[in-house]
């Protein structure tokens, strides 16, 4: 079955939709590899927003390194529960620590968001794998900071927080780091974008 569809009716819609997406963005995919194109198509499919074909940016090594981590069944860490809920086909662990008691304590003690505290918590618990951030720029800033300090063994980041405050800045900072990344330029992004990107990669394992 295709694109998570579990019935013929769902599959027919998914296939037709994917054809339309391909035709809509066919002029925007030159220079991208096949894995990157699949990610772009899924993002446009899941948002019905063609702008994303112009907004998506990858580091050169992103798809190779992210896929290697996922093939090794390393952990996936998400910023919020909604993102975790969208990742249903992975054989490894998909973690979201936002409701964890220790995370709430770290958040209060350091006066940071729970999403940022959950990255801190992951670092303290020897996280190794791919981070998927669809919402919280504070989580993305924290991940970059901890990586730069040598405290976070993140292999690649899907960094697509959404919003008019801090989201763009956090993505720009990720693109200047040494972490393999996918970002979306500007304020746009969000849960469906993050989920489309990680599910594309998982489908290639």
């Amino acid at each position: 079955m295709f694109m998570g569809a579990s019935t013929q009716q769902g599959e027919e819609i998914a296939i037709k939709s994917r054809k339309i997406v391909k035709s809509l963005i066919k002029d925007k995919i030159s220079g991208f590899n096949l894995l990157e194109i699949d990610i772009m198509e899924r993002i446009v499919h899941s948002t019905a927003d063609i702008d994303y074909a112009d907004l998506v940016r990858f580091s050169n090594n992103f798809t190779d390194i992210a896929l290697k981590s996922l093939r090794a069944n390393e952990d996936i860490l998400t910023d919020i529960t909604m993102v975790k809920s969208g990742i249903t086909q992975y054989n490894g662990n998909v973690e979201c620590f936002i409701k964890n008691k220790d995370v709430i304590a770290i958040s209060k003690e350091n006066q940071i968001t729970r999403a940022a505290a959950s990255v801190e918590f992951a670092s303290q618990n020897d996280f190794e794998g791919v981070i998927v951030i669809g919402n919280a720029p504070t989580a993305l800033f924290k991940a970059i900071e901890l990586f730069n300090e040598g405290k976070l063994n993140v292999k690649a980041i899907i960094g697509v927080p959404v919003g008019f405050v801090a989201a763009s800045e956090s993505k720009e900072e990720l693109s200047k780091s040494k972490i393999p990344y996918i970002i979306t330029n500007g304020p746009k992004g969000g849960t469906p974008v993050a989920v489309a990107a990680i599910n594309s990669l998982i489908s290639k394992i």
Copy 2:
């Protein structure tokens, strides 16, 4: 705290972002009531996509009737688990039947999507309340069909499925029905749009 933020850092971002959203869509809100404006602002906030201020449409009675149902703690039914995951502050039941065994059986027997089958299942189990559809046009078509047959006691529908196939058509059909509704014109919509709308209403209980 504001917009689900649980820390000062999160709250500061949410407040700044909301101010920016208000200024971006201030020319688009005339003729809408305060509840509708809050929903529009949250949708733009959660997608960073100003287009939504032009795409959102409400039936006259939507906010009143939806709020009445939610104040009575009637059930909320979502089309997929991701939408359910985003609804964390409701005192009543938030249901998603997509993984239910009976739903899978209905889906196979009738050759319909699981999302559509879950609405059929809800109807068979005396569902009463608000339906929130962010993704599956097939679920929305099924809800309208069952309502028209007098088999589904749905009070209001947040009908914002996303996609280039069937989504627009399903929303147009909802807008022609007698069900109180919010829709987004055209292919755009999705989980964050659906969640923003229902959480806006829940915050007003």
